[in-house]
Each structure stands twice: as C-alpha cells, then as structure tokens.
C-alpha cells in the first residue's frame, strides 16, 4: 500500500465515522431533545376529537319564566366521511336530500364544506367543525321527511336525521328582548385564535351577543369528547377516551317578562305616536331599573329583530338587514349603545352644580326670552319670557335662560377664554359626579360610554381636528363649504381648544357635545330617587345548576354617590315632582293615581337624514316612582320623536300603568306587577322546561 492509498483509507474512514456520528446526533435530537414536541405532533395527526355539545343552560326571568330555552328540533345531518367515499363525492345524494327538504343544492353544498376547504371569499355558511362529526344542514326538518331519510337509508347513504337541541327564544307575553338576550352561533376562527380560545371546541355554539355572550361560560356547559385514533385513510382504529357532556347552568335575571312586554309595547306605541305626529321616529329605547339595587327590570330597544333567525340559519339578506341604515340598524341596542344629547333631562346635573356653586335654590330667578352670550342671543326653548320665577318652577317648566345666565356667569368667573389655573368648573364636576362619560357597567357587552365635553376633552378634540378646521377650505368637501360652516371652522381654528361661553351655556342644558345612553340616564335618575347612590345596573341575578344549587350570585354594586347634599336632593326631588304635576309632563300624567316624578327633554339634533331632511328632536322622559319611597326608575327615549312630553312621557306613563296596575286612572290592586316589590328570592326552574315547546 502506498502512502497516498493508506492516507485515503484513513480519511475515508474518518469521514464515514463522522457521518455515522452525525446521524446518531440527529437521532438523539429528534427522539430525546425534541421528542415531546414530536410526540404531540404525532398525537394530533392520529387522534380526532368528536365533540357532543352540552345542553345550554336556560335564561329565565325573575319569576322563572324562560327567556331562552332549548327546543327539540329534527336535524338532518351529513356524514362527510361517508359522502367523500362515494364515486361523485356525494353530489347525487346531496342533490336528492336538498330536493326532499326543499333546499337549494348550492346552499347545502356550502353548509357541508369545512371552512378550510373553501377560499375565504365564499366562506359564508361553511362548517366550522370537523369532518368526523355529523354536519347539520337543517335543524328544523319536517318529521315526515326526516322519517323518509331514516327509513330509506339505502337511498340516502351518509345522511341521517336525529333530534337536536335548538336554542329558542320563546317570546312569552309577546316579548322580543333580542338585544338583551343576544344569540348563540358557531365559533369563528377569531374566537378560537383569540385569548381564551383554547377553552372552546370547534363544533361548540357560543353566545355571540347580549346575555348569551356575557354569561356564556356559565351557560355553555362542558361538551362531551370522544377521542378516536385514526389511520391515514381516516378510518377509526380505536377509541382513546370518552367523556360525557356536562349541561350548562341556568341564568336567573332580574327581568320581568310582563314588564318587558309592557316596556316594549309602550316604546313601540310612543314611536308610532311620534310618526303620527309627523316626526320621523326612527328608533327608541326604554329602561326600567330598581332604584334600590340597580337591577334591570326591563330593557327595550327599537327597531329590533327576531332573535330566532340565527338558529334558523341566517340568510345573506337577513344579515345585511340587521346592519342596514335603511332599516335603522336593528342590530344596535339603543338602550346601551345609542348616544344622544340628554337636553333638559340634564338640568338635574345643572341644578346640583348651581347648588354647589352657592346659588340659593329657594329664591327667584328671571327667565327671559333670551340671554346674550358674547354677541349671540341664546333663546329660551319656546322663546317665551316667563318673568321672575322660583328655581323649582324653572325646572318644572324647563326654563333654559335661567341656566344660560348661571352657566355664563360661572364661565366668566372661571376666567372665560383665559381660564384660571384652578377653575371651579361646578358644572363639569357635577357631571363627573353623576358619572357622565363613563359606562354604567351593566352586565351586557359593547356598552357605549357617552361623552363629557370638559376642558380636557375639548383640548384633545382640538388637537385631533386643528388641521382640518384651519385648512377647512382645502380639506372639506365642496358641498360642506357653506358660509356658516366656513365661519364655524374659522372660529374653531382660532379658539377651538378652549371652552367658549356658548359651549358653557349649551352644556348647562344638555346640548352641544354631551351625549348619554338611555341606560345612563336611568342610572342617574335612580340615584336621585334613592337618595344619591349610583348603582351598577345588573341584569343577571344568579347562576344556578340544573339541580337548583346556586353557584354564583350577582350582587348589586355601588359605583359612587351623587355630588349633592341632602337638601339639594330633597329640593331636586320636589322639583321633579312639580314637572309631573304642574310642569312639562303634567299633560301626560293627567289623572294618574300614583305620584311619580320625572323630567322631560327635547334635544335638538344637528345633521341631516340620509334623504337630506333635517333631523327631528330627540324625545326624552326620565323618571322615577312612586315619588314617596321610590322603587322604579323609568326612562324612555325616542330618536327623532319630537317633544319629550307628548311622546316619551306618555310612553313612560304606560309603563307605570303596568307596574302599578292602573286601569282607567284607577289602581286595580290585583293587577300590580310587584305588590311586594320586585322578587328577591330565586325561582325554581322546572326541569321539564328545557324541552317544552311553546
């Protein structure tokens, strides 16, 4: 052997031994180092979870009447693992089934595709679950046709029919409560990928809105899971585990079905009245709270929709209608998402501000036709001079000019356009004390906070819009370049960062940039009624198991106290009573046998309707009753409804009539809804209710 030959052998041997060691190293990494990772990966390749949804818990009213329950429907399901093995991948069978059920093949085809199988653009209606569970194409099949499918299994291979639980909102007493209850629907990718997404199983239905959403973790229960091991052809080789489902818990609410029905009826009635008067009356809301606890007894919003359309299978048109402007966006819950200027209902805040600023409430003030602020004349609402009147009467007849004067004086005292460092800001601090601009904290999703346009807000707003106003002629669209708007922009550009006299004056009568939700106003008036306690409104009262055990009590929570002294509150309560006896709401409550207190509001709205017409006023009535020892706060708002007194106050009266059992101006003792106050004990929930079919 020559040297080169020997050397080559040694080099080759070294190289080959190194290659073998490299394989050994890699093997160590794969099996020991990254072993757990690959074990998990292998498990996810081999195992399939088949999820049996749990029976969802009921939602009941305070006396146990179901608001949401589960009905038995006949589902027709498709087994993809059978269909996919057919020669045409199930086309013929699906076509035949669709024809039998009177459905369109295209719809059925879409419904039975896994979402991952379809391009994102034609996703709508796809199946979010897995291939291994029966995919429902309808949950409400005609029993005769369902039977045909079961009996002629040879004609319908891969198709089955079985009873399933369908979420149902029975609408007892004719209630709708769609916004309050919400709905359930299949999980979306966002639900699964979001925080806490791991708690879900793909085929589960979850609460999507309202109480169904808020209390989903209680209502949903735990689905049963059967894990099977499959091979590459997806045939099951063995069963790994089988866990039975745990039904969801029931939610008891403080809602009363009868009162909810009355509130919805009174609201719709008020809107129809507004329309009959020539107003647009496009939307509205009504709220009834227990002033002693903040519990919600009824919450209505208009326009609404049938809460059962989701489970029936929403058509494309239906889902578009829910959000269409032409229909008034029925999906929006006006009671807690609608933001409106509170107008004169806000004067309760102004009164507290004036009292805190040291104004004597027991003396007289002049109520002229207009007050000059800077070089603008601010008019009284009906431009009628009322002479010199008491503060109480000023509230009762809703005099504006008295507030213009006080607000303007206070504004000047705080430094006017060059504000003092520690300005008193009695009006803003009173509004903050009422928690305007903050959410009420109700146990419903997507509440709007409202807006308190104080100095800081003004400054932030200016920073955002300065460029727009200062370059208005170049930035704004041509049709918005009217003389008035150009002048307004110029003014905003110069001192839009400061509270001007006009802003202060507008603020004192609840106009301008201040907006609140109807629910917020109900919370404020509850606080006035109960002596100053601001409660967090709650709909849920308790969560109880199917066996009746209470597992969660939702206790009322105090959020704060009104910034008003006892005497101020007493004065305010008296004034609010005068509104009903001798003020703006007197016509609406003529002959009403039970003393109630309240305040009307008629808010001017700037801007135009889609058809170009000027927007009508917002009609408000905020109230509580009985005046002595108050228990209920009732607020109604009709957007573009016209006057507060004629539209909303009449509506609120109807709600009180139901509460107190008033028929033809007489109290019928047997007709009162809560002869002993709203129920505090939890109702018994009958197990048969789960499957009852109304």
């Amino acid at each position: 052997m020559n040297q080169r030959s020997r050397l080559s052998l040694i080099v080759t041997q070294t190289l080959i031994v190194s290659l073998m060691l490299a394989l050994m190293g890699r093997l160590f990494y794969l099996q020991i180092g990254a072993g757990p990772k690959y074990r998990d990966a292998a498990l996810s390749i081999q195992s399939r979870d088949i999820v049996t949804p749990a029976t969802r818990g009921l939602i009941v009213d305070s006396s146990g009447i179901p608001l949401a329950l589960n009905r038995v429907g006949l589902a027709v399901t498709v087994d993809r693992s059978v269909l996919d093995r057919q020669k045409d991948r199930g086309k013929a069978v699906l076509t035949k089934t669709a024809r039998l059920l009177g459905l369109k093949y295209a719809d059925v085809y879409l419904q039975t595709r896994l979402c991952g199988e379809l391009p994102k653009t034609v996703h709508a209606g796809c199946w979010t679950g897995t291939r291994y569970q029966p995919i429902p194409i309808t949950k409400d099949a005609d029993p005769g046709k369902a039977l045909q499918i079961v009996e002629r299994a040879d004609l319908y291979p891969g198709i089955d029919s079985r009873p399933v639980a369908v979420r149902n909102y029975p609408g007892r007493d004719g209630i709708n409560a769609a916004h309050l209850l919400g709905y359930v629907g299949p999980l979306t990718e966002t639900d699964i990928s979001g925080t806490g997404g791991s708690q879900y199983y793909r085929s589960e239905s979850i609460g999507k809105a309202g109480l169904e959403f808020q209390y989903d973790s209680f209502l949903r229960g735990k689905p049963g899971i059967r894990t099977v091991i499959v091979d590459r052809e997806e045939s099951v080789t063995r069963q790994a585990q089988n866990i039975a489902s745990i039904p969801g818990n029931h939610l008891v609410t403080s809602i009363d079905v009868r009162l909810q029905a009355a509130a919805e009826g009174a609201l719709e009635d008020a809107i129809m009245r507004a329309r009959a008067d020539g107003s647009r009356g496009d939307a509205g809301a009504a709220a009834v709270l227990d002033v002693k606890t903040g519990r919600v007894l009824a919450l209505a919003s208009y326009p609404s929709y049938d809460p059962n359309i989701w489970e029936k299978g929403l058509t494309v048109k239906q889902s578009k209608d829910l959000f269409s402007d032409a229909n008034g966006v029925p999906a929006l819950s006006r009671a807690l998402q609608g933001l409106f200027a509170p107008a004169s209902t806000f004067k309760v805040v102004s009164l507290v501000a004036a009292a805190n600023a040291g104004y004597n409430l027991d003396t007289t003030y002049s109520c002229p036709a207009s007050v000059k602020v800077g070089n603008i004349n601010f008019q009284n609402f009906e431009s009628k001079p009322q002479g010199t009147i008491s503060m109480k009467h000023a509230i009762a007849i809703s005099c504006d000019t008295i507030w213009y004067k006080i607000a303007y004086d206070e504004w000047l005292r705080d430094g006017g356009l060059s504000p003092k460092k520690n300005a008193n800001d009695y009006f803003y601090s009173a509004a903050r004390g009422f928690q305007i601009g903050k959410k009420t904290g109700i146990d419903l999703p997507a509440e709007s906070a409202g807006r308190l346009p104080d100095r800081q807000w003004r400054l932030d707003w200016y920073k955002q819009n300065q460029d727009y106003f200062c370059n208005y002629t170049t930035r704004a669209p041509k049709k918005e370049q009217t003389t008035f708007l150009v002048a307004l922009a110029k003014e905003n550009c110069i001192d839009g960062d400061k509270i001007r006299g006009g802003d202060a004056v507008n603020f004192s009568i609840g106009q301008g940039d201040t907006v609140v939700t109807p629910l917020k106003l109900a919370q404020m008036y509850s606080a006035i009624a109960n002596g100053g306690t601001i409660w967090q409104p709650t709909v849920g009262k308790a969560v109880i198991t199917t066996k009746g055990k209470v597992i969660e009590t939702i206790k009322p929570k105090i959020l704060g106290k009104l910034p008003a002294s006892k005497s101020t509150l007493t004065f305010l309560q008296g004034a609010l009573r005068d509104v009903v006896t001798a003020g703006t709401a007197a016509p609406a409550f003529t002959g009403f046998p039970i003393a109630v207190s309240g305040k009307t509001g008629t808010a001017e709205v700037f801007g135009l309707n889609p058809d170009g017409s000027k927007k009508d006023n917002t009609s408000w009535f905020a109230s509580y009753g009985p005046t002595e020892n108050p228990r209920y706060a009732v607020v109604m708002m009709v957007s573009q409804g016209g006057f507060g007194s004629s539209v909303s106050a009449v509506g609120v009266r109807k709600i009180y009539e139901s509460i107190f059992g008033v028929v033809a101006n007489k109290v019928m003792p047997g007709k009162a809804l809560f002869p002993f106050g709203p129920p505090t004990a939890l109702p018994r929930i009958s197990p048969t209710m789960r499957v009852s079919n109304p």
Partner: protein, 387 residues
Amino acid sequence: MSAIISTYSARRRGRRDSFISGLDPILSLAVAGLLIIGTLLVYSATKSWYTSIGLDPQYYLKRHIINISIGGLLALSAMIIDYRLLRAYTPILYGLSVLGLIAVLIPGVGSTVNGARAWISLPGGFQIQPAELAKISIIVGISLVLSERIHDREAPTHPDVIRALAIAAFPILLILLQPDMGTVIIISASVVTMVAVSGAPSRWVAGLLIVALVGGFAAVKVGVLSEYQVKRLQSFVNPSADPQQSGYQLRQSRITIGSGGFLGKGLFTGPQTNGRFVPEQQTDFIFTVAGEELGFVGSSFILLLFLIILLRAFRIARRSQDLFGRLVCAGVIAWFAFQAFENIGMTMGLMPMTGVPLPFLSYGGSSMFANLIGVGLLQNVYARQRP
C-alpha cells in the same frame, strides 16, 4: 507493493478449509442482525395495512424472506469464487448491467415508479432494478482497471484514472436518464473513494470532488433534474413548501421518528406506523418504523451495526493482499456508507429526498441482492487476506 508483502511471514493455513472459518464472524453477525431487524420492521410496516385491506398480512414478510434467501445464495457465490477469478467475469457483468440500464429506458420494458424509470417488470409481479446490479459491476470494473496495470508504477497514472472514469461514466449517464439521482450520487461517491484509495494523484480526487459539487449545483439550476426532483430537493430546504407531497412525507417521517422517544412504542405497536402516515414505509422509509417502535435505543443499535459493518470492511481493506481486493472493499464501503447516510439522513431531515433504500433493512429484491453480493465480496477479500 511486493516489498511490503514480503515483510509478512507466511500465510496462515487452513483458512479455506472450512467455509465458516473463512468468514469474518463479526461482519457476518452484524449483517445478520440488520437482516433480522429489517425483516421485523418490514413486517411491522405492512402487517396492519394488509390486514385492513383484507390481504395476507404476511405477504411482504414472506417476500422479504425470499429476497434475503436469494440474496444469501448470491452472496455465497460472490464469496466462493476467488475474486481474482472474478476479474474474468467482470466484462460480462458490466455488459449485462449496461444492457439492463438501456432496457429500462425503452418504453414498455421499463416501468416508472416515483418519477424514475428504474424498474424492469418481470412476470409474476417481480421487478428488477438494473441500477442496483450496476453498482457492483462498476465497483468491480474500476477495481480491475485501477489495479491491473500494464506499467510498473506504484500508483495509477492519468490514463488509468481516465479509463476507470470512462467505465463509470456510461452507466452513470444511463441512470441519470431514468433519472435516479440517489443512485448516481452513491455510485459517484464510490468512484471517488476508489480513485482516492488507489493512490492516484490527489489532483484527481480534488478535481472529482469539485466536479461533483459543481455538477450537483448546475443540475438544480439548469434544470437537468426533473421538476419532480427539484420539488423534492426544495421540500428538503423548506418542508412546508409542498405540504401534501414530498414535504408531507418528510414531515411525517420526522414526526414518526421523533415520537418514538427513548424506548419507542414497541414493535408492531407504533400508532404512526399502524396508521400508515408515512408513505413508502416498508422501502425507503423503513428507518421510521425503527424510530417509532424501537426508539432511540433500537435505532442507535441499528446505526451501531452499520458502523461495525463499515469498520470491519475497513479492516478487511487494510489487510487485503492486493490492490484489487482493497479497491473492491473501498467501493463497497463508500456505497454502503453513503447509501445508509443518505437514506437515514433523509428520514431525519438531514438530507434531501432521493429515493434510495436503506441497505439490509428496506424491502426490495434488487437492492437486497446487490447489498448481499457486496457483503459476499467483502467476505471474499477477507477469506483471501494476508494473515
């Protein structure tokens, strides 16, 4: 050379007296170990599959054992003929291989599996792969040219090397046409190793290595490789590029091995194997069965057996009494080593996907025959080595 040999004392007697005593016992045991493990793995990979489709679950087991038996007989004949006599048959062997390689390219004779036209179908469902037998004829042929020289120099000259390369070039070209890149790479590795061990000028070795690297690079770039092969190479670099095809295979393969852990899931009880998530598991991906069912302990034992075989073969090469024997050994070593590395490396994501079977373990007749003939050649040289 003769000077070196003369320094050793007389040859030990009796070596050829008994057949068994003429074998390298450690090499034989290691090969037998791999064959037994391979048989079990092939059975495990196919048992539940054939049961589930209602066929004889021992179908592959039986055929695998038949292949080993035929291979054993071929190994025996490769062993007992004095390899010096083998030289006489070399041209015939070479000619037959080339004819076979041409035949597979003829439509209707050759059949295409996985994009390569590499098989000749025979009646009775048998297939032979001429490229496997070509490996042997190339190794023996080059050994012959490089060791049997007309001149008297210590090392092969340039013309010797050129002649050797010419011998290899023709079959390699034919295999490239199939195209079967894996086999081309392995044969090339063998050729380079043999040229190096022959003591040829180092320029040749360096040059050949450069040609191999540039050739490989150009093949991908210029598109000599079929789309199918480029895809497989790309999926090696980025396994998610083609998740349903070759990328899928590589991913499944790695998961299957990784899920085995330290002790494995136990023979015949690997869920990945029983679920047949790795395609071609009884042939090119047989190592994944070992990875999953025998775990790190069993799989590294297989690697150890390969290492023992290769180290024994190096020992035989060193002790060979002539250059021809040493070159045959070097060729066989490079073949086994690179084929094992390529195959196991592929299953673990270290090497690109080229469809070569794992020596001694994969199911497949031609490959098994060739491997065992290779072992036979090693034993042949051993039996005639200097003491």
